[in-house]
């Protein structure tokens, strides 16, 4: 029964651009708060001045995932006076492929019939039954798009091969729940890169830390600051000056990673990190290992470290580690600091 899964979809909205160049939030079902509506209008590429069309963008705002597909209206169509329109889907889960396919179906329906009613039929069909017919005598099935597949869809090999040994900085930052900011002038590159970073901490399977498309305005930054650790993608180059917003800054076009001053002591790295980094690089360089195998290798190593840590914790009272227990083991200072912060992140630390 598709009931449980489709409870994940929250709403669908429609933005149109007409022949006079005006952009309007036309319609949505069931409802979208004014705040979210403004955010979505700003993310939709129709409101931007440039004429570049981003076919599909997605992002997160206050725990709601939104997926925007933009389409240029071609003949034959029932839509008069409309040059472009975007369909916005909001949902609670992260699954870009599913929502991209679904919104393409909805776009075609709308384009052909010119009325949202027909599009709603498709939407309600997916909401209730989990499938809907599309134009070419096929059907869109929700169960074809598994959440696990969405997590694995990105290419971790590209990330590791772009940064080499420096990708260990990303790994450390994610393990310690730090704030990572990625910048690239093209939104598609940012989306592609950031969506795969949470896979480095596969044992958590937590994609809610991912905010792939953020603009530098107060509202969004407020909602970003509510999270302790995040991976945020920016298209605006101004972000490099906002060192209060990140602990690690990734400059994608120049392939540079910088750690900000205030996070340097927390991000000290030692032999343990070198091992993990070597493992990552070697695994990614191997030509016949797929992305999911690379992720698996990294997660196996992570599990080792965590097992080590939990065994340490079990020896202490209340299964919580304290700084003293760590000091007793006489690890080198970088490893000790890392394990301490990791225990804090994994809730193994005595408060």
């Amino acid at each position: 029964m598709a009931g449980v899964e489709t409870q994940l979809m929250l709403s669908v909205g429609l933005i149109e651009k007409d022949v006079n160049g005006d952009v309007l939030w036309v319609w949505c079902y069931p409802s979208v708060s004014a705040e979210l509506r403004d955010v979505l209008l700003s993310k939709c590429c129709l409101t931007l001045d440039s004429s570049m069309l981003h076919t599909f963008v997605f992002g997160q705002f206050s725990r709601t995932w939104y997926y925007i597909t933009t389409v240029e209206v071609h003949e034959p169509t029932a839509l008069k006076k409309v040059t472009h329109f975007s369909i916005v889907l909001t949902a609670k889960d992260f699954n870009p492929e599913k929502y991209a396919a679904f919104s393409r179906v909805l776009c075609r329906m709308y384009s052909k019939h010119g009325s949202p009613v027909r599009m709603m039929e498709g939407y309600i069909a997916v909401l209730t039954k989990g499938m809907c017919q599309n134009d070419e005598n096929g059907s869109f099935l929700v169960k074809d798009y598994d959440a696990q597949k969405a997590y694995l869809a990105g290419s971790i090999k590209d990330v590791v091969s772009q940064f080499g040994m420096e990708s260990i900085i990303l790994y450390t930052a994610l393990m310690l729940k730090k704030r990572v900011v990625v910048h690239h002038p093209r939104i598609e590159a940012v989306l592609e890169f950031t969506r795969v970073l949470p896979a480095l901490t596969w044992h958590r399977k937590d994609w809610s830390i991912l905010h792939p498309y953020v603009h530098l305005n107060e509202r969004e930054l407020e909602s970003l600051r509510l999270c302790t650790g995040y991976v945020a993608g920016f298209v605006d180059p101004e972000i490099s000056n906002r060192s209060d917003l990140f602990d690690v800054y990734v400059n994608l076009p120049d392939s540079e990673i910088t750690v900000s001053q205030n996070a340097k002591e927390a991000m000290l790295m030692g032999k343990l990190h070198r091992d993990v980094g070597l493992l990552m690089v070697q695994s990614a360089e191997h030509a016949d290992r797929t992305d999911s195998q690379v992720i698996k290798d990294i997660s196996v190593k992570t599990k080792e470290i965590l097992a080590n840590l939990t065994s340490l914790a079990e020896e202490c009272e209340n299964s919580k580690i304290t700084l003293e227990t760590l000091k007793q083991r006489r690890f080198p200072p970088a490893t000790e600091s890392f394990l301490f912060h990791l225990a804090a992140a994994e809730q193994l630390l005595k408060i």
């Binding site: 009931g3 449980v4 319609w27 079902y29 209730t128 408060i351």
Partner: protein
Amino acid sequence: MAATSVFSRVRTGSKIGAQYDQEGNLIQVETREDEEQNIKLSEILDLLLAAGYFRARIKGLSPFDKVVGGMTWCITTCNFDIDVDLLFQENSTIGQKIALTEKIVSVLPKMKCPHRLEPHQIQGLDFIHIFPVVQWLVKRAIETREEMGDYIRSYSVAQFQKTHSTPEDDEFMQRKEKAIRTVVHVSDVYKPQRKYKRQVDAGKLIDEESRVHSTLLEYGRRYGFSKQSKEDKVEDRKLSQAPGLPPGMTELSEEEDLQAAEELRIKTLMTNMAAMATEEGRLTASTVGHIVGLQSEEIKQIASEYAEKMERSAEDRPERYGPAQQHRRQMASLNKQIQQKTKQLEELHAKHLEVQAGCEEAKIKLLEASELTDKLERELGALEEVESLADSSILEKLRALVAMNENLKSQEQEFRTHCREEMARLQQGIEGLKMESGEDTEDEKERNQLIEKQYKTDRDKLQKIRLLLARRNREIAILQRKIDEVPSRAELTQYQKRFIELYGQVSATHKETKQFFTLYNTLDDKKVFLEKEVNLLNSIHDNFQQAMASSGAKEQFLRQMEQIVEGIKQNRIKMEKKKQENKMRRDQLNDEYLELLEKQRLYFKTVKDFKEECRKNEMLLSKLRAKGAS
């Protein structure tokens, strides 16, 4: 290549295993080892050159010569003995070379070289392995040279000094005596003088620190705080009973607490000391008693008085008590630092308290949340118990459907309210836009209206002109068509030709048709005659038998026959006449036709002549014109 042999390395410089191709030329076997060896050889030579072994530059020497020479040179530079006969023979045998290299290799471990080398490697010119050794040797050589540089220089100076002397040296020799005496005298004056002596029956001091302390005290040095030992000055005063300087003049340190602790220690030590016999010996006992007794209190008193005095008179005597001032300044700065650190500590403390408070709050929240989850879990557990009584699969479906239903209902409600809100919002937007556009001033409105009027009039004019244009176009079209209808000369000649053709065709068909007609007529006539003939013959045949029956009939028959013949003959004559007539007409027409043909021929000829004349005319005219123009 001896790839499968056991000794797979080809030794460079030796021609073992050289291959010759068909023409007897040496095949240049290029192995990677060879190139690397050459690179390494050049690096080794560069190193040796940099170290100072310039023989490596000589081109005539073999690499082995250079390398071995370089290594022995480095070893000797490091001050290690190596017994090598450096007079090389040009073509030494392998055995001799090995002997040389063995000597080198035996020295290397003595020099504690970290790289190992075999003699055959040097002899075989395995530069890849020789290189690290040479590198290390060169480094050692340079280090040794640095170390020994000074020594050697001073040795050479000494050698020089043995036989010669510079003018500076002579001067120095003169001043030496006087200088020595002065130095000795000065050192005597400032020698530490032993003031006390530890008594024999005081017992041995056990730990080193107290021994050191007591020795220092014997020489009058308080260890620790003051620059000058104030106490021994005080002691001196007490001992010598001399009128001591007023307390304010002594240089006292200001650290009273620490002094108190020191007092105690020194007391214990000093109890066992007696003043040196060179000093005032008879006061020994009383001195000791004094020391044990009230000295500490007096010292404290003096110290405090001095401190007050110093504060009061600090500005008057700035320079005389320089070291004290420095000390005071140091003290002041240390105090300030202490203050700063305490402030920081307070701030950190405050921050720590804040963070702790926040932590407590978060813990409380966590507790609440966990309580809530517990409650929910309990309720869920109860629910599950109830559910377990019912059929699970149907229950699941039902649950899902109910949930879906609720969801859709709530969505519908949401949607309705949202639609109302959206409508309100959009209407507001429209109002806003109307307001904006309606807010034009009067002038703008008038201008807008004027513009509208002008636009209308212009549009109407455009319409009218368009209609006019269309009509004119139509007229032009009609006229054009009419003009087209009148044929031009070329068209006319074409028409004429075509007409002639058609006429020819028509006449041919006509003639044919006429011929068919005449043929038909002829055949028809022929048929009639043949019928008549057949009738006649039939009748004759029929009547013949009858006729032969009687003579009268026979005669009748004969007459009839003759009549018939007559009739036929007459017919024939008529026909002949007709034929003659037709023939004559035909001839007449033929003649006429020929005449007309002649006429036509004449006509064509005339036309041709006319054309010719016209052409001539044209030519002459053009010539005339040309002549006229020029």
